[in-house]
Each structure stands twice: as structure tokens, then as C-alpha cells.
């Protein structure tokens, strides 16, 4: 395999993907115990998309995420300890326990929030990208959204706006095959298998890549982000991927073929594919991959313990931060 990435970069990218997988698999287990409040939507299986894109970004670049947002947060550099505490609704959470799984945001990291509204992200990142363009600081905006959100008017309008205003914006479509339980074969008939074909009609470059191949995502995102930083306007990247869990935790997933996830975990897991590629190319040792796995496991274990033991928010927090001043 060919890659420009150093060994250090490769291990960093792998660690991010492992952090996401370990975090999500652990949240799955904890949620099943009934210890976690609210609704959670897990990102396991889609790690190569978030990490393949965000490895090109710095804290000045903005991303907007979805209800399935934990992976984007971790990939963008949000500390998983605070995220876990947030999901537990604790004072030490990234948002002080007031947002929860669907609203984790860390503006200092350029993470503009997971989002409870499908299709809310594209206009927000059009705005973030407009700010980048006006400030001329070379930063870009990236919106992650699903095949379901690809049918929202907000997305179509934002594609047009991004082209009209020549914004430094990247649309990253995570096509995991299900909008809740509905297939894009029904809800996004575009005359081909690729939803990216629509974006081309708006007048921007659009590609479809294997979203479980970190390197394919990384390369496509790199090209798009470089073009945007240089003033070359928006790009649309469709990443074909798969979610390993239900739409939300508790979803019986009767709409899925029986072995779909099992087969994907065995044959198309983005982490395994990454590890196999870099070890067989002699770029990273298998032992180094295993060491990362162990460290991340311990990190997530500790994050869960800390979150469990953390205090609840003070009751004063209920009334705080509705306004700056009122």
C-alpha cells in the first residue's frame, strides 16, 4: 500500500478509530444495563469516515454532526472522559450534563455539536464556512450527515448556497444504508447507487468512496479540504459504510438481514482493514496495534468509572446559561 502518512500519524489515526469503537461498544453495554439515561445512537462501524476526514482538520476548522455524534466528537479531538460523563448526565460532562448524548459540543475543538434534528447541520456549516471565507483564515467547515438527512430540504438548500457563495465547505454523507429502518433504495432514488450524483447537479465536485476504507476516505477528504482551503469551493463526499447497532439503542432491527452486521464485522471492519493494511505493508508492527488497543480499553474503562462516580449537576445549573444576559 501507498500512503504519505508517517508511522506516528498512522498510529494516531488508528488510536482515534479504536477510541470510537471502544467507547461505543462500551456505551452499548452500559445502556443495556439500564444505567444510562435518554436516547443513544452509536457510531460503531463508521469510524473510518469520521477519522479519515478529521485527521486533516485542526481546531479552527468547524464540523457539525448528527444524533449519531460520538464518533465525530472523538475524531475532532473532544476528550472522551468528558463525553462519557456527559452521557451519564454528570457535572463533569463536556456540557455540564445539560446536553447529553445528542448534544455533545466542544466549540474550542471546532465541534459545533451533535444534533437532535436531522438535517440541521448543513446550514450551520454553510455559516461556519462563510465565516471562514470572510475571515480569510484558511479554515474550512465540514458537515457530517446521513443518507436520511440527505433528503432534507436544508441539505439541498445548503448545497446550492455553498456553490453560490463558493464556500470552503465539505459535505460528508455517511451512507449506512438505513434512515432509521428505511433504505435509501426507497427514499433516495437517484438513478444510480450513489447519492453523490445529486450533488454534482448543484455544480460541485462529488465522489463516492468506500467508507470502511480509512485510506480512501482520507485521500478524498484531503483533496477536498485542500481545495476548499485554497478557495476552490465546496465538495461532496459520499462514504458507503455500515452501522453495527440499531438506529438507537433498543431498536430490535427487524428490518435488517440476519447476518449483515456479523458479516461486516468479520469481513469489512474499518479497524481490522486498517490494521491489516499497515501491518502487512510493514508500516506498523502488530504489537504496536495491540498496545493501542490495550491502552484505549483501559482509558474507556477509567472514563466509565469516573463518570459513574462523578457528581450530578448542581440544581442551580437548571436556570443558568439560557441567555448571556436577560
Amino acid at each position: 500500500m501507498k500512503t504519505q502518512l508517517s508511522k506516528e500519524d498512522l498510529l494516531k489515526a488508528y488510536r482515534k478509530m479504536r477510541e470510537i469503537r471502544e467507547f461505543e461498544d462500551r456505551v452499548h453495554v452500559e445502556f443495556a444495563k439500564g444505567t444510562l439515561p435518554g436516547f443513544v445512537h452509536l457510531y460503531s462501524g463508521e469510524e473510518a469516515v469520521a477519522v479519515g476526514v478529521c485527521e486533516h482538520l485542526n481546531d479552527k476548522d468547524r464540523i457539525a454532526s448528527t444524533h449519531r455524534g460520538h464518533g465525530h466528537c472523538i475524531a475532532k479531538g473532544v476528550e472522551l472522559e468528558g463525553m462519557m460523563a456527559e452521557i451519564y448526565g454528570k457535572k463533569t460532562g463536556t456540557c455540564g450534563g445539560k446536553g447529553g448524548s445528542m448534544h455533545i459540543a466542544d466549540l474550542d475543538k471546532g465541534m459545533m455539536g451533535a444534533n437532535g434534528i436531522v438535517g440541521a447541520g448543513p446550514p450551520l456549516i454553510a455559516g461556519a464556512s462563510l465565516a471562514s471565507k470572510l475571515r480569510k483564515d484558511g479554515s474550512v467547515g465540514v458537515v457530517f450527515f446521513g443518507d436520511g438527512a440527505s433528503n432534507q430540504g436544508t441539505n439541498f438548500e445548503s448545497m446550492n448556497l455553498a456553490v453560490t457563495l463558493d464556500l470552503p465547505m465539505i459535505f460528508v454523507l455517511e451512507n449506512n444504508g438505513y434512515a432509521e429502518s428505511t433504505s435509501p433504495k426507497y427514499s433516495a432514488k437517484v438513478g444510480s447507487e450513489n447519492i453523490a450524483d445529486r450533488a454534482r447537479g448543484f455544480g460541485m465536485p462529488a465522489v463516492t468512496v468506500d467508507g470502511n476504507d480509512f485510506f480512501a476516505v482520507y485521500e478524498a477528504a484531503g483533496e477536498a479540504i485542500e481545495r476548499a482551503r485554497k478557495g476552490g469551493g465546496p465538495t461532496f463526499i459520499e462514504c458507503k459504510t455500515m452501522r453495527y447497532f440499531g438506529h438507537f439503542e433498543g431498536d430490535a432491527q427487524t428490518y435488517r438481514p440476519k447476518n449483515e452486521v456479523k458479516d461486516a464485522r468479520a469481513n469489512d471492519c474499518p479497524l481490522k482493514r486498517f490494521a491489516d493494511a499497515v501491518t502487512s505493508a510493514g508500516l506498523v508492527d502488530a504489537a504496536e496495534i495491540e498496545a493501542v488497543d490495550k491502552e484505549v480499553l483501559a482509558q474507556v474503562e477509567q472514563a466509565v468509572k469516573d463518570a459513574e462516580n462523578a457528581p450530578q449537576p448542581d440544581l442551580d445549573a437548571l436556570m443558568n446559561d439560557v441567555y448571556v444576559s436577560y
Binding site: G97, K98, S181, Y186, Y255
Partner: protein, 335 residues
């Protein structure tokens, strides 16, 4: 006709089934109202996110229509189809998502009849979930019905029990005006006596849940249960409460509220939404204007504080009105 108690969500399902049997123009539109469209699996996998429409697709495969996640398009299509001879029921999952498609209701459906000189009929019903209590945070817990009640041309319906849910939904679907039907998610598993046969409850007719001489409590949706709890406690101290469930907030059954306040002289309004420009302040305002002379104490509101819904369980518990807060408000009117 007696039969075993059924759940609130099943009462809603039954109302839709009966309406679809009675009238071929009734259709259901929404995300995953059947489910698994476009997959190789059997349809009817979901029946809506909480299974409320489950079982309807096999009975009416042409009239239970899965849509893309395009709220403006499918809520608008429900409005448009209803203006063209259908009687569409759109399911919007969470009322919080109304922001995505609000124009189709508040500028379009609500105004057709008036703007078009009385020539349009738009018998659309939009079903949608409200309510906090599940740590679902700020974008999945709201009760924004006052925004709809504020719009002339729309009717806003808010059932509090399975019997009312079935009768009010049937009435909404049969009504020739656009109706927004708000279902509190904490009530879905509430069981109650519900006749098997078709029936309707008139829109704009309050339910007097119980009568007492001292205080009038007006409560909506889940708050009715909390009001009953508070009233039970106060009864031990000799304070007798009337509880009125308006069931619809537009139209509002003012006469029932006024005549109760004329008897008790005291008013407490309980609403899970906010006091500012909300149902509670509106009821207090109308009562103050119209039966001021009957009041023995200032009307009291028990509402959520003026904040988005917090995620953390302890904050959400502090946010929600409950029996204790209602009891305190009632005692204040008795001072």
C-alpha cells in the same frame, strides 16, 4: 361495551384503523410509519418510532405511506393532499421537529380557508409527540403546542388518557379543519377503558375530571395525573379540588373553566410548557378578564421554568411540574 383495558398508544392505533375502515380517503404519511421500505425484509417492521402505527400497513398497504426524512415535503404533502379530497394523517414523530416544516402548517394549512374566501377545506391531522421525563434533552422533550394554538385556523388537541385519545383522534381526522394532535410520550403505556367501537369526542369540550368546591385546577396531558395526585393529598386536609382537562386548547372550552371558577373562586393552571405566552398564562388572563369578580385569590401557574429541557436526570426532575409544586400552588390560593 366492556373489554380489557388498552394502552394509550393502542387507542391511537385503533382510532386510525377505524377511520381508515370507514373512509377510503384517510391516508397516513410519515417516516417509518410502516418501516423497512426499500430493504429485503418484511414491511411493517417499525410502525413509527414507538410502534404506534404498527399493524396498519398490512391492512392498508396503499394508504400507509413511508416517506423520506423530509418533514417539509411530507407534512406539506399531507396538507396538499387534504386540500384535494384526501383526509391525511401525517406523523411527525417528535413535535420538536415542527421547526423543520412549520411553514406548511402555519402559513399554508391554517390560512387556506380564510385566504381563499371560505372555498378551501383542509381536513389534515398531524400527530406528534410531546413531553419531557425521559432525559431526551432539549430537542426531543418539548411541549410547543401554544405556538400552534396561537395560529388562527389550526386546532390543537392534547389528550390525557386512552379513552380521550381514541375519541379525540377520531374527531380530529373527521374534522374538516387542520388539526395538530399532541401525544405525550409518557402516556403511551397508560392503560384505560376504551370501547372497541368507533366514537368521537367533540373538539372544544373540556372534561371535568373531578369536582370540588375550593379550587379549580386546569391541567393538560400528563399534568392531569399530577393534579389528581395533589388533589388527593389536599382532600385529606379538607381542601376540595375541581380538575378540568381542556383536552383541546384551540378551541378552548372557556365556559367550563369560567363556571368552575365562579363556584370555587380559585384557579391553578398546570402546564408542562412555559408561562411566558403559554397556555397557563392565557387561561389566567382570560379568567382574570372575564370572571375577575369571582376570584378570592390571585390565579397561580405551575409550569416549567423558562429554560430548554435539561438532560441530567436531577435537573429534568427539577424542571418538570409535579404534584408537590401543584400542592404548594393550591395552598397559596388558600392562604
Amino acid at each position: 361495551m366492556a373489554r380489557k383495558k388498552i394502552m394509550f398508544k393502542d387507542a391511537i392505533n385503533e382510532a386510525m384503523r377505524l377511520e381508515m375502515e370507514r373512509d377510503e380517503s384517510v391516508i397516513i404519511l410519515g417516516l417509518d410509519v410502516a418501516g423497512s421500505a426499500g430493504t429485503e425484509q418484511e414491511r411493517d417492521s417499525w410502525g413509527g418510532v414507538l410502534g404506534v402505527t404498527k399493524g396498519l400497513y398490512p391492512l392498508f398497504p396503499d394508504r400507509v405511506i413511508d416517506t423520506p426524512i423530509s418533514e417539509s415535503a411530507y407534512v406539506g404533502a399531507a396538507v396538499g393532499a387534504s386540500a384535494c379530497g384526501m383526509r391525511a394523517v401525517g406523523e411527525l414523530m417528535f413535535s420538536d421537529f415542527m421547526g423543520v416544516c412549520f411553514d406548511q402548517l402555519y402559513n399554508q394549512a391554517a390560512k387556506f380557508r380564510y385566504m381563499f374566501g371560505g372555498k378551501a377545506v383542509t381536513p389534515v391531522t398531524i400527530r406528534t409527540m410531546i413531553g419531557a421525563g425521559f432525559s431526551a434533552a432539549a430537542q426531543h422533550s418539548q411541549s410547543p403546542y401554544s405556538m400552534f394554538a396561537h395560529v388562527p385556523g389550526l386546532k390543537s388537541i392534547i389528550p390525557s388518557n386512552p379513552y380521550d385519545a381514541k375519541g379525540l383522534l377520531a374527531a380530529s381526522i373527521e374534522d374538516d379543519d387542520p388539526c395538530v394532535f399532541f401525544e405525550h410520550k409518557a402516556l403511551y403505556t397508560m392503560k384505560g377503558d376504551v370501547p372497541e367501537e368507533h366514537y368521537t369526542i367533540p373538539l372544544g369540550e373540556a372534561n371535568v375530571v373531578q369536582e370540588g368546591k375550593d379550587v379549580t385546577i386546569v391541567a393538560l396531558a400528563r399534568m392531569v395525573q399530577f393534579a389528581e395526585k395533589a388533589a388527593k393529598k389536599l382532600a385529606k386536609d379538607g381542601i376540595e379540588c375541581t380538575i378540568i382537562d381542556p383536552r383541546t386548547i384551540s378551541p378552548m372550552d372557556w365556559n367550563t373553566i369560567y363556571s368552575s371558577v365562579e363556584k370555587t373562586g380559585r384557579l391553578v393552571v398546570v402546564d408542562e410548557s412555559y408561562d411566558l405566552c403559554g397556555v397557563a398564562s392565557d387561561i389566567c388572563g382570560h379568567v382574570s378578564q372575564n370572571v375577575f369578580g369571582a376570584l378570592k385569590a390571585a390565579p397561580q401557574m405551575v409550569t416549567a421554568p423558562f429554560t430548554p429541557t435539561p438532560f441530567a436526570a436531577n435537573l429534568e426532575a427539577a424542571y418538570l411540574p409535579d404534584a408537590k409544586k401543584i400542592e404548594a400552588a393550591i395552598r397559596k390560593t388558600m392562604e
